[in-house]
Symmetry: C2
């Protein structure tokens, strides 16, 4: 009885079973509408489920996203700023329009030489993740524990790795950390499979996105609030794009918590934030998620990563030592990985884009500093290795039967994922998809 309650709780963390709709959640905390810019949410002090008797954690395997950062496009700040500056020269801005222009100008200045870089907030997020990982699973980090830390070759990921590893060294100076950030590992740390990627170009994908945007993007009110002249807007401004671009900067302003108190969210209504998020949520579902529009293939972008996780775990299980394999990378990897592993039911197939929001929410997976942790347990009196999955430090389900949820028998989990990868490899590459 207790177990089924737990399973429901596990599933309810991510699925539509939660008390709130996506709209309610976003109205309650508008920063969620930032999607992948949502700042890491430290889990409440909840008790993680105790391991079955006799079992102790000995190994942790993770994939973690870098912390909060500046926007990554070199024109992400300057393009909307320039649009407003031109309108200002033409005398077409409202007082609010001029205020927004000034705020964008501040952010644009702040971003010089820092495009894509970790922010001060980003720098501390992984310190916290490390501290809680160490505290929750001290056996893994005791004595001369070995940490194999690897990052993509992107600096914000390397610095996130540094912040996390410094925290481990502070908590146990004896820990040995091997660090790396090499082209050599990019085939699994952040890999683009061109056969899969081209599915994004399918006509039905573009049609679905266009139709959805038409229903959900309504820039008219915002344009009236920023510009004095409707005709000028019609003639000179791509209103959909400008709204999207300002919203992008707005959503990421939470990354600058320790740098500025500027906040552009008030220029949007909550409904607009929700609508814009819905479009972004669909973007992620189609481009990285299990969407039938991209034939359910997108999660397999992370085939190499999942294989590396399985292979490395195999080695560590055999070695009888203890420690962790930490991988630092990107939202565009961690989301398809979570889907591929079907953690917490995130692999769910949803056919109608209009049904998506309440069943699948990107901000639950890819907030800044988001992370997937697999915690491995052993019992000196048994050869049975157990594993538990955490998504952003919450216990989540895996798509495998178990008698001890949220714990799973590693042999079952491994067999399931290896079979899943093998099946895809056998079927997908044997036929043309376009």
């Amino acid at each position: 009885m207790k177990k089924s309650v737990l399973l429901i709780l596990l599933l309810s963390f991510v699925l539509g079973l939660s008390a709130q709709t996506a709209k309610e959640e976003i109205f309650a905390d508008v920063y969620r509408s930032g999607s992948n810019y949502y700042a890491y949410q430290i889990p409440e002090e909840t008790s993680l489920t105790a391991a079955p008797a006799g079992y102790k954690p000995f190994y942790i395997s993770t994939y973690q996203r870098h912390g909060s950062r500046f926007l990554t496009g070199k024109n992400d700040y300057s393009t909307p700023l320039n649009t407003l500056q031109e309108a200002d020269k033409a005398g077409k801005l409202t007082p609010l329009g001029r205020k927004v222009m000034a705020d964008l100008d501040s952010l644009n200045c702040m971003s010089r030489g820092r495009i894509g870089e970790l922010t001060p907030l980003g720098a501390i997020q992984h310190t916290g993740v490390a501290k809680r990982m160490f505290t929750n699973f001290p056996d893994v980090f005791e004595g001369k524990a070995l940490i194999d830390a690897r990052s993509t070759i992107v600096i914000r990921c390397i610095l996130s790795m540094m912040d996390e590893c410094m925290q481990f060294k502070a908590m146990n100076p004896e820990i040995e950390v091997k660090n790396d950030a090499s082209m050599h590992d990019m085939y699994y740390m952040n890999y683009d499979d061109s056969d899969i990627l081209k599915l994004r170009e399918l006509p039905q994908v573009k049609a679905a996105i266009k139709k959805f945007e038409k229903n959900h993007v309504h820039p008219e009110r915002l344009m009236s609030s920023l510009f004095t002249d409707h005709a000028y807007v019609k003639q000179n401004i791509n209103a959909d794009q400008l709204m999207e671009k300002i919203f992008r900067v707005t959503g990421n302003m939470q990354s600058h918590k320790y740098q500025t108190t500027l906040n552009l969210y008030p220029i949007f209504t909550r409904q607009e934030c929700y609508d814009l998020w819905c479009g972004n949520n669909l973007y992620w579902y189609i481009n990285y998620g299990p969407s039938p529009l991209t034939k359910g293939a997108m999660p397999y972008l992370e085939s190499n990563l999942l294989k590396n996780i399985l292979d490395t775990a195999d080695t560590c299980v055999v070695s009888r030592s203890h420690g962790a394999t930490l991988r630092f990378g990107h939202d565009s990897c961690i989301l398809p990985l979570a889907v591929l592993m079907d953690l917490g039911g995130f692999g769910k197939v949803i056919n109608n884009p209009e049904d998506l929001a309440d069943q699948w929410r990107n901000y639950k997976i890819i907030m800044m500093a988001s992370n997937i942790q697999l915690i491995f347990y052993r019992n000196p009196e048994s050869n049975d290795i157990l594993v538990k999955a955490l998504l952003n430090e919450h216990e989540v389900s895996m798509p495998v039967k178990t008698d001890i949820a949220p714990y799973y028998h590693w042999k079952d989990v491994e067999a399931y994922y290896r079979q899943k990868l093998a099946t895809f490899k056998k079927t997908f590459y044997s036929k043309s998809h376009i």
Copy 2:
């Protein structure tokens, strides 16, 4: 009396006053002929000179080179390998030639996806630097000491920074480390001043190098040992270049201490190693050092870096807190900086390239993980700040009068360097140099 002995000892560390000639030093330790590939030499347990009574260190400012690494050119391993492979196909290699080909092939394979990257040896060098820095100057690192660590945007430098900072956190978990590796700081962390750089193109520079090479590069013996057919070599091989390229790989093999026991040094005679080093030493002296051939301007490539060191120290002296500013970068910065600061007499002008080797030796400055440390001291009963300079952890002289060598009055040091920078700025940019 004691002071002048000390000064002589200080100067003797780097100048021709040392007991050994460059040739003797290289014959005694052929790895020195690797120049900037020379692995970091941990200083012997010598007693650093105690500070004057009442003075305690409170701040350290550094510029440090990354640790041992793979070669940085994408063809550094493959070009000499390909030359030997072609000769092998033509049946023109000796047994030794085939052995060298096999060794180069191993290294070429090892370097795949790792060009320019830190090696396992490189990863531990900064751990040691940090450990000794902490141990020698514990006051700087006590309590909530603040470490401002910055790196160029090159990954081997960032990982070196990570290794050093993890060590600090291990020795004092309370230390606060702020890390960064940003384009934003590149104007002083690794800056190329095109007005200065074009001096390298002067005709007299090229003539001097050509003349020197003619005297010092003798590939005939090596070619005979690798190839069976003198005519083939003459027709197909640029012998000078092949010798230089194999020697480059050879010199850097010490970077792979924990990866392989391969060693190509035995295919060169000690005299050849010395001769090839002489050419490389001249290269550094002309391209980054105080050479009159490049009008003594090269060290000023690091004007922004020296200015940053002075400005940051000013702030830290005033703030009354304690900690360190750590900068991680490259040989091509640390060598001109050491010359610009005239540390240990390395700013010495030598007119005849043939006199260079015994008066100025690049491997004393730019070994892997090389570092310049300025240690700042204060006395609660005085406003006089003292400073001491370390080059690769050896006390070195600065070009300023002092009554307490190896300590200097910061106000004198600062005034001297600011004046030096101002004079160059005023005179250099006002005229054409080509």
